[in-house]
Protein backbone atom coordinates (compact mmCIF):
# COMPACT_ATOMS: atom_id res chain seq x y z
CA UNK A 1 0.00 0.00 0.00
CA UNK A 2 1.14 3.53 -0.69
CA UNK A 3 0.34 6.53 1.39
CA UNK A 4 -2.40 8.76 -0.02
CA UNK A 5 -1.75 11.38 2.60
CA UNK A 6 1.65 11.90 4.13
CA UNK A 7 2.14 14.46 6.87
CA UNK A 8 5.56 15.39 8.23
CA UNK A 9 6.43 17.75 11.09
CA UNK A 10 3.02 19.42 11.22
CA UNK A 11 2.74 22.45 13.49
CA UNK A 12 -0.41 24.52 13.83
CA UNK A 13 -1.50 27.52 15.88
CA UNK A 14 -4.55 29.68 16.49
CA UNK A 15 -3.13 33.14 16.86
CA UNK A 16 -0.56 32.80 19.62
CA UNK A 17 -1.82 29.50 20.89
CA UNK A 18 0.21 26.65 19.48
CA UNK A 19 -1.88 23.51 19.23
CA UNK A 20 0.16 21.01 17.22
CA UNK A 21 3.84 20.41 17.87
CA UNK A 22 5.23 18.44 14.97
CA UNK A 23 3.00 15.54 13.95
CA UNK A 24 4.09 12.76 11.55
CA UNK A 25 1.37 10.50 10.25
CA UNK A 26 -0.01 8.94 7.09
CA UNK A 27 -3.24 7.65 5.60
CA UNK A 28 -2.81 4.64 3.34
CA UNK A 29 -4.59 4.34 0.00
CA UNK A 30 -7.95 2.71 0.71
CA UNK A 31 -7.30 2.55 4.44
CA UNK A 32 -8.89 3.97 7.54
CA UNK A 33 -6.64 5.84 9.93
CA UNK A 34 -7.88 6.99 13.30
CA UNK A 35 -6.60 9.91 15.33
CA UNK A 36 -7.49 9.36 18.97
CA UNK A 37 -7.07 11.49 22.00
CA UNK A 38 -8.92 13.20 24.80
CA UNK A 39 -10.65 16.51 24.28
CA UNK A 40 -8.25 19.27 23.46
CA UNK A 41 -5.49 16.98 22.27
CA UNK A 42 -5.46 18.65 18.85
CA UNK A 43 -7.44 16.16 16.76
CA UNK A 44 -9.81 18.67 15.20
CA UNK A 45 -6.98 21.07 14.57
CA UNK A 46 -5.14 18.35 12.67
CA UNK A 47 -8.06 17.95 10.27
CA UNK A 48 -8.35 21.70 9.89
CA UNK A 49 -4.66 21.93 9.17
CA UNK A 50 -4.94 19.42 6.34
CA UNK A 51 -7.74 21.52 4.82
CA UNK A 52 -5.86 24.78 5.04
CA UNK A 53 -8.18 26.19 7.69
CA UNK A 54 -5.42 27.11 10.17
CA UNK A 55 -1.93 28.46 9.91
CA UNK A 56 0.55 25.57 9.65
CA UNK A 57 4.18 24.64 9.26
CA UNK A 58 5.44 21.33 7.94
CA UNK A 59 4.69 19.18 4.92
CA UNK A 60 1.27 17.89 3.92
CA UNK A 61 1.48 15.71 0.81
CA UNK A 62 -1.64 14.39 -0.91
CA UNK A 63 -0.99 11.83 -3.65
CA UNK A 64 2.52 13.18 -4.18
CA UNK A 65 1.41 16.83 -4.28
CA UNK A 66 2.24 19.34 -1.57
CA UNK A 67 -0.97 20.96 -0.40
CA UNK A 68 0.26 22.98 2.58
CA UNK A 69 -0.46 26.67 2.22
CA UNK A 70 -3.15 26.11 -0.42
CA UNK A 71 -6.61 27.66 -0.07
CA UNK A 72 -9.28 25.41 1.40
CA UNK A 73 -11.36 25.59 -1.79
CA UNK A 74 -8.44 24.33 -3.85
CA UNK A 75 -7.59 21.51 -1.48
CA UNK A 76 -11.22 20.43 -1.60
CA UNK A 77 -11.09 20.45 -5.38
CA UNK A 78 -8.15 18.03 -5.22
CA UNK A 79 -10.49 15.49 -3.63
CA UNK A 80 -10.39 16.10 0.11
CA UNK A 81 -13.82 16.05 1.72
CA UNK A 82 -14.10 17.19 5.30
CA UNK A 83 -17.00 16.49 7.63
CA UNK A 84 -16.20 19.15 10.22
CA UNK A 85 -16.92 19.12 13.92
CA UNK A 86 -20.48 20.26 14.47
CA UNK A 87 -21.20 18.67 11.06
CA UNK A 88 -21.21 21.92 9.10
CA UNK A 89 -24.84 21.60 8.06
CA UNK A 90 -26.34 24.48 6.10
CA UNK A 91 -29.21 24.76 8.56
CA UNK A 92 -31.23 27.28 6.55
CA UNK A 93 -31.13 25.25 3.35
CA UNK A 94 -33.05 22.11 2.49
CA UNK A 95 -31.57 18.64 2.55
CA UNK A 96 -31.62 18.69 -1.24
CA UNK A 97 -29.73 21.96 -1.38
CA UNK A 98 -27.18 20.67 1.11
CA UNK A 99 -26.60 17.69 -1.13
CA UNK A 100 -26.37 19.84 -4.25
CA UNK A 101 -23.71 21.87 -2.50
CA UNK A 102 -21.83 18.69 -1.74
CA UNK A 103 -21.58 18.08 -5.46
CA UNK A 104 -20.88 21.75 -6.18
CA UNK A 105 -17.54 21.08 -7.88
CA UNK A 106 -18.99 18.45 -10.21
CA UNK A 107 -21.36 18.64 -13.19
CA UNK A 108 -24.97 18.81 -12.02
CA UNK A 109 -26.13 15.76 -13.98
CA UNK A 110 -23.58 13.42 -12.42
CA UNK A 111 -24.55 14.62 -9.00
CA UNK A 112 -28.23 13.88 -9.34
CA UNK A 113 -27.40 10.28 -10.23
CA UNK A 114 -25.24 10.04 -7.10
CA UNK A 115 -28.14 11.16 -4.92
CA UNK A 116 -29.73 7.74 -5.28
CA UNK A 117 -26.57 6.03 -4.11
CA UNK A 118 -26.62 8.21 -1.01
CA UNK A 119 -30.26 7.29 -0.41
CA UNK A 120 -29.09 3.69 -0.60
CA UNK A 121 -26.83 4.29 2.38
CA UNK A 122 -29.15 6.66 4.21
CA UNK A 123 -32.78 6.07 3.22
CA UNK A 124 -33.89 8.63 5.78
CA UNK A 125 -32.39 11.43 3.73
CA UNK A 126 -34.79 10.61 0.93
CA UNK A 127 -37.74 11.00 3.28
CA UNK A 128 -36.39 14.34 4.43
CA UNK A 129 -35.24 15.50 1.00
CA UNK A 130 -37.34 18.67 0.84
CA UNK A 131 -37.08 19.57 4.52
CA UNK A 132 -34.99 22.33 5.99
CA UNK A 133 -31.79 20.74 7.22
CA UNK A 134 -32.04 22.59 10.52
CA UNK A 135 -35.05 20.45 11.42
CA UNK A 136 -33.13 17.18 11.18
CA UNK A 137 -32.12 15.23 14.26
CA UNK A 138 -28.47 14.98 15.20
CA UNK A 139 -28.08 11.56 13.66
CA UNK A 140 -29.78 12.62 10.44
CA UNK A 141 -27.54 15.66 10.23
CA UNK A 142 -24.52 13.40 10.57
CA UNK A 143 -25.84 11.26 7.71
CA UNK A 144 -26.39 14.38 5.64
CA UNK A 145 -22.89 15.60 6.38
CA UNK A 146 -21.36 12.30 5.30
CA UNK A 147 -23.45 12.29 2.11
CA UNK A 148 -22.49 15.87 1.39
CA UNK A 149 -18.84 14.93 1.70
CA UNK A 150 -19.18 11.80 -0.45
CA UNK A 151 -20.95 13.72 -3.21
CA UNK A 152 -17.66 15.47 -3.82
CA UNK A 153 -16.34 12.06 -4.95
CA UNK A 154 -13.37 12.47 -2.65
CA UNK A 155 -10.14 10.51 -2.57
CA UNK A 156 -9.74 11.31 1.09
CA UNK A 157 -12.53 11.68 3.60
CA UNK A 158 -11.84 13.53 6.85
CA UNK A 159 -14.36 12.69 9.54
CA UNK A 160 -14.42 14.76 12.70
CA UNK A 161 -16.04 12.94 15.59
CA UNK A 162 -19.05 11.41 13.85
CA UNK A 163 -20.24 10.05 17.20
CA UNK A 164 -20.48 13.51 18.76
CA UNK A 165 -23.65 13.96 20.78
CA UNK A 166 -25.31 10.85 19.37
CA UNK A 167 -26.89 8.01 21.28
CA UNK A 168 -24.88 4.78 21.20
CA UNK A 169 -27.39 2.98 18.96
CA UNK A 170 -27.21 5.65 16.29
CA UNK A 171 -23.43 5.72 16.51
CA UNK A 172 -23.43 2.00 15.85
CA UNK A 173 -25.76 2.41 12.89
CA UNK A 174 -23.65 5.13 11.33
CA UNK A 175 -20.40 3.24 11.74
CA UNK A 176 -22.03 0.17 10.22
CA UNK A 177 -22.91 2.19 7.15
CA UNK A 178 -19.46 3.78 7.09
CA UNK A 179 -17.98 0.33 6.71
CA UNK A 180 -20.11 -0.26 3.61
CA UNK A 181 -19.20 3.16 2.29
CA UNK A 182 -15.51 2.51 2.71
CA UNK A 183 -15.72 -0.67 0.67
CA UNK A 184 -18.11 0.56 -2.00
CA UNK A 185 -16.80 4.08 -2.55
CA UNK A 186 -13.13 3.19 -2.48
CA UNK A 187 -12.36 6.21 -0.35
CA UNK A 188 -9.53 6.54 2.16
CA UNK A 189 -10.57 7.83 5.56
CA UNK A 190 -8.92 9.83 8.29
CA UNK A 191 -11.14 9.56 11.34
CA UNK A 192 -10.96 11.70 14.43
CA UNK A 193 -12.76 10.22 17.41
CA UNK A 194 -12.95 10.49 21.10
CA UNK A 195 -14.83 7.21 21.30
CA UNK A 196 -11.75 5.04 21.09
CA UNK A 197 -13.44 1.67 21.14
CA UNK A 198 -15.59 2.27 18.12
CA UNK A 199 -12.85 4.07 16.24
CA UNK A 200 -10.36 1.27 16.77
CA UNK A 201 -12.93 -1.27 15.65
CA UNK A 202 -13.32 0.63 12.40
CA UNK A 203 -9.76 1.74 11.66
CA UNK A 204 -6.79 -0.28 10.52
CA UNK A 205 -4.19 2.13 11.80
CA UNK A 206 -4.31 4.56 14.71
CA UNK A 207 -2.42 7.39 16.35
CA UNK A 208 -2.93 8.65 19.89
CA UNK A 209 -2.56 12.39 20.42
CA UNK A 210 -1.81 14.11 23.67
CA UNK A 211 -1.62 17.91 23.84
CA UNK A 212 -0.58 18.27 20.24
CA UNK A 213 1.89 15.39 20.03
CA UNK A 214 1.61 11.80 18.86
CA UNK A 215 2.39 9.54 21.80
CA UNK A 216 1.81 6.13 20.28
CA UNK A 217 0.91 4.74 16.88
CA UNK A 218 0.45 1.38 15.24
CA UNK A 219 -2.09 -1.06 13.86
CA UNK A 220 -5.49 -0.52 15.41
CA UNK A 221 -5.61 -4.02 16.82
CA UNK A 222 -2.39 -3.42 18.76
CA UNK A 223 -3.42 -0.03 19.98
CA UNK A 224 -6.70 -1.29 21.32
CA UNK A 225 -4.79 -3.53 23.68
CA UNK A 226 -2.54 -0.74 24.84
CA UNK A 227 -3.18 0.67 28.30
CA UNK A 228 -1.93 4.13 27.38
CA UNK A 229 -5.21 5.10 25.74
CA UNK A 230 -7.08 4.50 28.93
CA UNK A 231 -4.42 6.42 30.84
CA UNK A 232 -4.48 9.27 28.41
CA UNK A 233 -8.26 9.54 28.45
CA UNK A 234 -8.75 9.18 32.18
CA UNK A 235 -5.80 11.25 33.30
CA UNK A 236 -3.61 8.95 35.33
Amino acid sequence: MTALLDVKGLHAAYGETKVLHGLDFAVQQGGVTALLGANGAGKTTTLRAICGMVRTQGAIVLGGKHIEGMATEDIVRLGVAHVPDGRGTFMELTVEENMRLGAYTRPAREATADFDRMFGYFPRLKERFRQQAGTLSGGEQQMLAISRALLLRPKLLLLDEPSFGLAPLIVKEIFGIMRRIKDEEGVSILLVEQNATIALAFADHAYLLETGRIVISGPASDISKDESIRRSYLGY
Binding site: C51, T72, E73, P84, G88, E92, L93
Partner: protein, 289 residues
Protein backbone atom coordinates in the same frame (compact mmCIF):
# COMPACT_ATOMS: atom_id res chain seq x y z
CA UNK B 1 -62.40 55.93 0.21
CA UNK B 2 -61.11 56.51 -3.28
CA UNK B 3 -58.41 58.72 -1.82
CA UNK B 4 -57.45 55.96 0.55
CA UNK B 5 -57.16 53.38 -2.22
CA UNK B 6 -55.14 55.84 -4.22
CA UNK B 7 -52.73 56.30 -1.31
CA UNK B 8 -52.38 52.55 -0.87
CA UNK B 9 -51.69 51.89 -4.53
CA UNK B 10 -49.19 54.67 -4.93
CA UNK B 11 -47.65 53.49 -1.64
CA UNK B 12 -47.16 50.11 -3.23
CA UNK B 13 -45.53 51.77 -6.23
CA UNK B 14 -42.96 53.64 -4.13
CA UNK B 15 -42.74 50.64 -1.82
CA UNK B 16 -41.32 48.69 -4.75
CA UNK B 17 -38.37 51.05 -4.84
CA UNK B 18 -37.81 50.64 -1.11
CA UNK B 19 -38.18 46.91 -1.51
CA UNK B 20 -35.40 46.83 -4.09
CA UNK B 21 -32.99 48.84 -1.99
CA UNK B 22 -33.98 46.83 1.10
CA UNK B 23 -33.23 43.65 -0.80
CA UNK B 24 -29.82 45.03 -1.76
CA UNK B 25 -29.12 45.89 1.89
CA UNK B 26 -30.20 42.46 3.08
CA UNK B 27 -28.08 40.68 0.50
CA UNK B 28 -24.98 42.35 1.81
CA UNK B 29 -26.06 41.99 5.41
CA UNK B 30 -26.65 38.26 5.06
CA UNK B 31 -23.25 37.67 3.57
CA UNK B 32 -21.17 39.97 5.73
CA UNK B 33 -23.30 41.14 8.65
CA UNK B 34 -22.53 44.67 7.60
CA UNK B 35 -25.08 47.29 6.60
CA UNK B 36 -24.01 49.24 3.56
CA UNK B 37 -24.72 52.85 4.45
CA UNK B 38 -23.59 53.82 0.96
CA UNK B 39 -26.22 51.72 -0.82
CA UNK B 40 -28.37 54.76 -1.64
CA UNK B 41 -25.44 56.86 -2.81
CA UNK B 42 -24.24 54.04 -5.03
CA UNK B 43 -27.71 53.80 -6.59
CA UNK B 44 -27.74 57.53 -7.23
CA UNK B 45 -24.38 57.30 -8.94
CA UNK B 46 -25.72 54.50 -11.14
CA UNK B 47 -28.68 56.65 -12.10
CA UNK B 48 -26.30 59.36 -13.27
CA UNK B 49 -24.51 56.78 -15.37
CA UNK B 50 -27.82 55.93 -17.03
CA UNK B 51 -28.46 59.61 -17.69
CA UNK B 52 -24.99 60.04 -19.17
CA UNK B 53 -25.52 57.08 -21.47
CA UNK B 54 -28.89 58.46 -22.55
CA UNK B 55 -27.32 61.85 -23.20
CA UNK B 56 -24.71 60.37 -25.53
CA UNK B 57 -27.60 59.09 -27.60
CA UNK B 58 -28.24 55.52 -26.50
CA UNK B 59 -31.84 54.33 -26.41
CA UNK B 60 -33.32 54.28 -22.90
CA UNK B 61 -33.28 50.54 -22.30
CA UNK B 62 -29.77 50.14 -23.68
CA UNK B 63 -28.56 52.89 -21.36
CA UNK B 64 -30.50 51.31 -18.50
CA UNK B 65 -28.94 47.88 -19.00
CA UNK B 66 -25.54 49.42 -19.59
CA UNK B 67 -25.76 51.22 -16.26
CA UNK B 68 -26.88 48.04 -14.53
CA UNK B 69 -23.83 46.24 -15.91
CA UNK B 70 -21.45 49.06 -14.97
CA UNK B 71 -22.94 49.20 -11.47
CA UNK B 72 -22.42 45.48 -11.11
CA UNK B 73 -18.74 45.89 -11.93
CA UNK B 74 -18.38 48.82 -9.55
CA UNK B 75 -20.02 46.79 -6.79
CA UNK B 76 -17.62 43.90 -7.32
CA UNK B 77 -14.66 46.28 -7.38
CA UNK B 78 -15.69 47.98 -4.13
CA UNK B 79 -15.98 44.65 -2.38
CA UNK B 80 -12.59 43.53 -3.60
CA UNK B 81 -10.77 46.75 -2.80
CA UNK B 82 -12.46 48.18 0.27
CA UNK B 83 -14.49 45.55 2.00
CA UNK B 84 -12.21 42.55 1.85
CA UNK B 85 -9.63 44.04 4.25
CA UNK B 86 -12.23 44.91 6.89
CA UNK B 87 -14.27 41.72 6.60
CA UNK B 88 -13.60 40.65 10.18
CA UNK B 89 -12.97 44.07 11.68
CA UNK B 90 -14.96 45.41 14.65
CA UNK B 91 -18.30 47.06 13.96
CA UNK B 92 -16.91 50.55 14.46
CA UNK B 93 -14.39 49.95 11.68
CA UNK B 94 -16.94 48.66 9.23
CA UNK B 95 -19.34 51.50 10.03
CA UNK B 96 -16.45 53.93 9.47
CA UNK B 97 -15.61 52.43 6.12
CA UNK B 98 -19.22 52.40 4.97
CA UNK B 99 -19.83 55.97 6.04
CA UNK B 100 -16.57 56.92 4.32
CA UNK B 101 -17.79 55.20 1.20
CA UNK B 102 -21.08 57.10 1.44
CA UNK B 103 -19.23 60.41 1.60
CA UNK B 104 -16.88 59.55 -1.23
CA UNK B 105 -19.56 58.31 -3.61
CA UNK B 106 -21.69 61.33 -2.78
CA UNK B 107 -18.82 63.73 -3.46
CA UNK B 108 -17.70 61.97 -6.60
CA UNK B 109 -21.27 62.14 -7.87
CA UNK B 110 -21.47 65.86 -7.12
CA UNK B 111 -18.07 66.49 -8.62
CA UNK B 112 -18.71 64.53 -11.83
CA UNK B 113 -22.32 65.53 -12.45
CA UNK B 114 -22.64 68.78 -10.41
CA UNK B 115 -25.24 69.53 -7.77
CA UNK B 116 -28.05 70.99 -9.87
CA UNK B 117 -31.32 69.11 -9.85
CA UNK B 118 -31.89 67.30 -13.13
CA UNK B 119 -34.88 65.81 -14.83
CA UNK B 120 -34.70 62.13 -15.53
CA UNK B 121 -36.71 60.52 -18.32
CA UNK B 122 -39.19 57.73 -17.78
CA UNK B 123 -39.55 55.00 -20.39
CA UNK B 124 -43.26 54.84 -19.62
CA UNK B 125 -46.02 57.22 -20.65
CA UNK B 126 -47.06 59.76 -18.08
CA UNK B 127 -50.78 59.21 -18.65
CA UNK B 128 -52.88 58.11 -15.69
CA UNK B 129 -53.80 54.45 -15.76
CA UNK B 130 -56.00 52.03 -13.85
CA UNK B 131 -58.81 54.52 -13.68
CA UNK B 132 -56.52 57.32 -12.60
CA UNK B 133 -55.09 55.55 -9.60
CA UNK B 134 -51.59 55.31 -11.02
CA UNK B 135 -49.50 57.14 -13.53
CA UNK B 136 -48.03 55.18 -16.38
CA UNK B 137 -44.61 55.57 -14.82
CA UNK B 138 -45.74 54.28 -11.46
CA UNK B 139 -47.32 51.25 -13.09
CA UNK B 140 -44.30 50.63 -15.30
CA UNK B 141 -41.78 51.04 -12.51
CA UNK B 142 -43.76 48.71 -10.27
CA UNK B 143 -43.65 46.20 -13.12
CA UNK B 144 -39.90 46.60 -13.52
CA UNK B 145 -39.37 46.30 -9.79
CA UNK B 146 -41.45 43.14 -9.60
CA UNK B 147 -39.60 41.69 -12.59
CA UNK B 148 -36.28 42.36 -10.86
CA UNK B 149 -37.44 40.88 -7.57
CA UNK B 150 -38.79 37.77 -9.27
CA UNK B 151 -35.64 37.21 -11.30
CA UNK B 152 -33.49 37.65 -8.21
CA UNK B 153 -35.68 35.11 -6.44
CA UNK B 154 -35.42 32.64 -9.32
CA UNK B 155 -31.68 33.16 -9.53
CA UNK B 156 -31.16 32.37 -5.87
CA UNK B 157 -33.63 29.54 -5.72
CA UNK B 158 -32.90 27.69 -8.93
CA UNK B 159 -29.35 28.24 -10.08
CA UNK B 160 -26.17 26.63 -8.90
CA UNK B 161 -24.48 29.98 -8.48
CA UNK B 162 -27.44 31.34 -6.54
CA UNK B 163 -27.33 28.35 -4.22
CA UNK B 164 -23.59 28.79 -3.73
CA UNK B 165 -24.09 32.46 -2.91
CA UNK B 166 -26.72 31.65 -0.32
CA UNK B 167 -24.52 28.94 1.13
CA UNK B 168 -21.57 31.31 1.35
CA UNK B 169 -23.72 33.84 3.16
CA UNK B 170 -25.12 31.37 5.67
CA UNK B 171 -22.07 29.30 6.38
CA UNK B 172 -18.79 30.38 4.82
CA UNK B 173 -16.73 27.68 6.51
CA UNK B 174 -18.84 24.81 5.26
CA UNK B 175 -19.07 26.45 1.87
CA UNK B 176 -15.31 26.41 1.48
CA UNK B 177 -15.35 22.76 2.46
CA UNK B 178 -17.56 21.91 -0.50
CA UNK B 179 -15.35 23.96 -2.84
CA UNK B 180 -17.35 27.21 -3.07
CA UNK B 181 -15.07 30.21 -3.61
CA UNK B 182 -16.57 32.27 -0.83
CA UNK B 183 -14.61 35.45 -1.53
CA UNK B 184 -15.97 35.67 -5.04
CA UNK B 185 -19.48 34.94 -3.87
CA UNK B 186 -19.32 37.99 -1.61
CA UNK B 187 -18.02 40.10 -4.47
CA UNK B 188 -20.84 38.84 -6.70
CA UNK B 189 -23.30 39.72 -3.94
CA UNK B 190 -21.99 43.26 -3.88
CA UNK B 191 -22.24 43.42 -7.66
CA UNK B 192 -25.83 42.22 -7.60
CA UNK B 193 -26.76 44.61 -4.82
CA UNK B 194 -25.28 47.51 -6.78
CA UNK B 195 -27.14 46.40 -9.91
CA UNK B 196 -30.46 46.20 -8.06
CA UNK B 197 -29.81 49.63 -6.56
CA UNK B 198 -29.20 50.99 -10.03
CA UNK B 199 -32.63 49.80 -11.18
CA UNK B 200 -34.23 51.36 -8.12
CA UNK B 201 -32.47 54.66 -8.82
CA UNK B 202 -33.66 54.79 -12.44
CA UNK B 203 -37.22 54.04 -11.38
CA UNK B 204 -37.40 56.67 -8.67
CA UNK B 205 -35.50 59.47 -10.44
CA UNK B 206 -38.35 60.53 -12.78
CA UNK B 207 -40.54 61.13 -9.71
CA UNK B 208 -38.17 62.82 -7.26
CA UNK B 209 -35.73 64.29 -9.84
CA UNK B 210 -32.06 63.56 -9.87
CA UNK B 211 -29.53 65.13 -7.54
CA UNK B 212 -26.60 63.68 -5.60
CA UNK B 213 -28.68 63.33 -2.42
CA UNK B 214 -31.65 61.78 -4.16
CA UNK B 215 -31.49 58.47 -2.31
CA UNK B 216 -30.60 59.54 1.22
CA UNK B 217 -34.22 59.47 2.37
CA UNK B 218 -34.96 56.36 0.37
CA UNK B 219 -32.10 54.55 2.06
CA UNK B 220 -33.76 55.22 5.39
CA UNK B 221 -37.08 53.78 4.22
CA UNK B 222 -35.21 50.81 2.85
CA UNK B 223 -33.53 50.31 6.24
CA UNK B 224 -36.94 50.49 7.84
CA UNK B 225 -38.32 48.01 5.34
CA UNK B 226 -35.42 45.62 5.77
CA UNK B 227 -35.78 45.71 9.54
CA UNK B 228 -39.55 45.40 9.43
CA UNK B 229 -39.34 42.30 7.28
CA UNK B 230 -36.32 40.89 9.09
CA UNK B 231 -32.84 41.91 8.12
CA UNK B 232 -31.76 38.36 7.42
CA UNK B 233 -34.74 37.50 5.24
CA UNK B 234 -34.66 38.66 1.59
CA UNK B 235 -38.34 37.89 1.15
CA UNK B 236 -39.12 39.71 4.37
CA UNK B 237 -37.12 42.71 3.19
CA UNK B 238 -39.12 42.92 -0.02
CA UNK B 239 -42.44 42.69 1.81
CA UNK B 240 -41.17 45.13 4.44
CA UNK B 241 -40.20 47.56 1.69
CA UNK B 242 -43.69 47.47 0.21
CA UNK B 243 -45.25 47.83 3.65
CA UNK B 244 -43.12 50.83 4.46
CA UNK B 245 -44.16 52.41 1.16
CA UNK B 246 -47.82 52.01 2.10
CA UNK B 247 -47.31 53.08 5.73
CA UNK B 248 -45.37 56.12 4.60
CA UNK B 249 -48.06 57.17 2.15
CA UNK B 250 -50.96 56.61 4.53
CA UNK B 251 -49.10 58.13 7.45
CA UNK B 252 -48.14 61.13 5.34
CA UNK B 253 -51.69 61.61 4.13
CA UNK B 254 -53.66 60.99 7.31
CA UNK B 255 -51.46 61.05 10.40
CA UNK B 256 -48.24 63.02 10.56
CA UNK B 257 -48.42 65.05 7.39
CA UNK B 258 -45.84 65.08 4.64
CA UNK B 259 -43.30 67.12 6.60
CA UNK B 260 -42.60 64.33 9.05
CA UNK B 261 -42.38 61.42 6.64
CA UNK B 262 -38.75 60.74 7.44
CA UNK B 263 -39.54 60.74 11.13
CA UNK B 264 -42.01 57.99 10.35
CA UNK B 265 -39.10 55.88 9.09
CA UNK B 266 -37.28 56.53 12.37
CA UNK B 267 -40.36 55.50 14.32
CA UNK B 268 -40.70 52.29 12.32
CA UNK B 269 -37.02 51.49 12.86
CA UNK B 270 -37.16 52.06 16.61
CA UNK B 271 -40.45 50.22 17.01
CA UNK B 272 -39.26 47.17 15.13
CA UNK B 273 -35.91 47.06 16.86
CA UNK B 274 -37.38 47.34 20.33
CA UNK B 275 -40.59 45.37 19.90
CA UNK B 276 -39.62 42.62 17.47
CA UNK B 277 -35.92 42.81 16.65
CA UNK B 278 -36.01 39.80 14.36
CA UNK B 279 -38.61 41.50 12.16
CA UNK B 280 -41.73 39.90 10.80
CA UNK B 281 -39.95 37.12 8.94
CA UNK B 282 -36.53 37.05 10.49
CA UNK B 283 -34.97 33.94 11.90
CA UNK B 284 -35.16 33.15 15.53
CA UNK B 285 -31.87 31.68 16.50
CA UNK B 286 -31.35 29.48 19.50
CA UNK B 287 -28.06 30.68 20.76
CA UNK B 288 -25.91 28.41 22.84
CA UNK B 289 -23.28 30.78 24.11
Amino acid sequence: MEGFIHQVISGIATGGIYASVALALVMIYQATHHVNFAQGEMATFSTYITLTLINIGLPYWVAFLGAVAISFVIGVAIERLLMRPVANAPVLTSVGVFVGLLLIVNSVTGWMFDYTIKQFPSPFSGKPMLGGFLSGHELGSTGVTLAVLISVYLFFKHTRLGLAMRAAAFNPVSSRLVGVRVGWMLALGWGLAAAIGSVAGCMVAPIVFLDPNMMSGILLYAFAGALLGGIDSPLGAVLGGFMVGVIENLGGAYVVGTELKLTLALIIIISVLTLKPSGLMGRKVYSRV
